[in-house]
Amino acid sequence: MARAAYEENNDPLEPMNRAMFKVDAGIDKALIRPVIKGYRAVVPAQGRKGIDNFLNNIRSPITFINDILQGEITRAGQTLGRMALNTGVGFFGFFDVAEKWGIEDHNEDFGQTLAVWGVGDGPYVYVPLLGPTTARDGIGFGIDAFLTDPLAWYSRGTGAMNWVEWAYFGSAYIDTKDVTMDPLDELKKSSLDYYAALRSSYRQIRAKEIRNGAPGPMEDFDQ
């Protein structure tokens, strides 16, 4: 039975990953959840959506560069168009005007570029505070952070992280946790082994991003 790569667990570090997953659940309960509850209490849903759009717009150069690296010229154009529209008309990115005009959002990163270049995803790794990743995606994340992220260019030469980077990192972190908290709770409720369900979901989502949204093969159903 042929099985797509993203269906394999490839999790040789599972005992350690599970330990980290447990640590993360503790941190989540003690620290992250109260912060997110506070954030939701202070900032209304519309404001949170605007912040999410703003942060997404800030990282669009990362998507643009990786579009180019993957040879996706049309999608690079879409990214550029979105950036221009949303930064200009969308009030520095708070409003996703481009989407309303029919230019769909997509995400690229160096992990996906490596995949397009033929690099396999490697072992699954669960990192406390950051969540699920793989060897390839972790390396891709590092490369994006140092090379393709415009904030990294901005602070080039200043040495340690400056306040702009900290502010960006902090708000992006809170935004991510805000957006993912409810869906993850739902996944936890619907699964028996939350760790395994999350690992599977992560790999499937990444596989779909790498395929640029095309449906995956499912020949197993006809076994």
Binding site: L130, S191, I205
Partner: protein, 212 residues
């Protein structure tokens, strides 16, 4: 979760959450889509009128949802896919027990969120061939505040008509996710009976939460 595209992840997993509200129950704007797409359109439309917007008690909604699920989904096919080699190795009694428990898991997981439906609609985007005798129907669920996500329906033609084998929400296949989840439980508990016991407990917990 920076290494994960946070948006893709959020939309993927929240789609699972939303789907339980929207998919079986959506107003459907399928027009002029032949057979397979029409099938998806029909039963989702039925879902919204007969279950979601119906002025009936939640227990009655659960029952109707269960009937629909049994009618439109290929439960043995799903069991075969989700359990792979364990399915073949199981006795017919074990297979029947799994199918019944899986049905309960789906019914009680989804019915928790029936009340959250507020007018999401499902638009059929098209269909394409999918494996042998299969069709993939692509759709988008559109919610309020312009949120939307993609849902693909994997159908197989059976003697009695189309049956749903899998729902893929923003790239996350329910069947694959359950397969990974359940095979992990089987290898950890060391037996098929271990999985059935955990499913029984999950169903009991879900029922207790809903007073069903």
């Amino acid at each position: 979760m920076p290494t994960l595209s946070r948006r893709a992840f959020a939309s993927g997993v929240s789609a699972i959450a939303l789907l339980s509200v929207a998919a079986p129950l959506s107003a459907v704007m399928a027009q002029a889509q032949p057979d397979a797409a029409a099938f998806v359109g029909d039963f989702t439309r039925k879902g919204i009128t007969d279950i979601l917007s119906a002025p009936i008690a939640n227990t009655e909604k659960q029952q109707r949802f269960r009937d629909m699920f049994k009618t439109y989904f290929d439960l043995p096919g799903i069991g075969r896919f989700v359990l792979t080699r364990y399915w073949a190795a199981a006795t017919p009694e074990e297979q029947a027990k799994f199918t019944k428990l899986f049905e309960d898991v789906i019914v009680y997981t989804w019915s928790r969120r029936f009340s959250e439906y507020n007018g999401q609609s499902l638009m059929i985007q098209g269909q394409q061939a999918d494996g042998k005798d299969g069709t993939l129907v692509k759709s988008t669920i559109v919610g309020n505040n312009s949120s939307h996500f993609g849902v693909d329906w994997r159908l197989r033609k059976r003697p009695e008509g189309f049956k749903v084998l899998d729902i893929v929400i923003e790239g996350v296949s329910m069947a694959i996710t359950y397969r990974q989840d359940y095979s992990t439980v089987i290898s950890q508990t060391g037996s098929f009976a271990g999985l059935l016991a955990q499913m029984e407990k999950q169903v009991a917990d879900l029922k207790a939460q809903q007073g069903a």
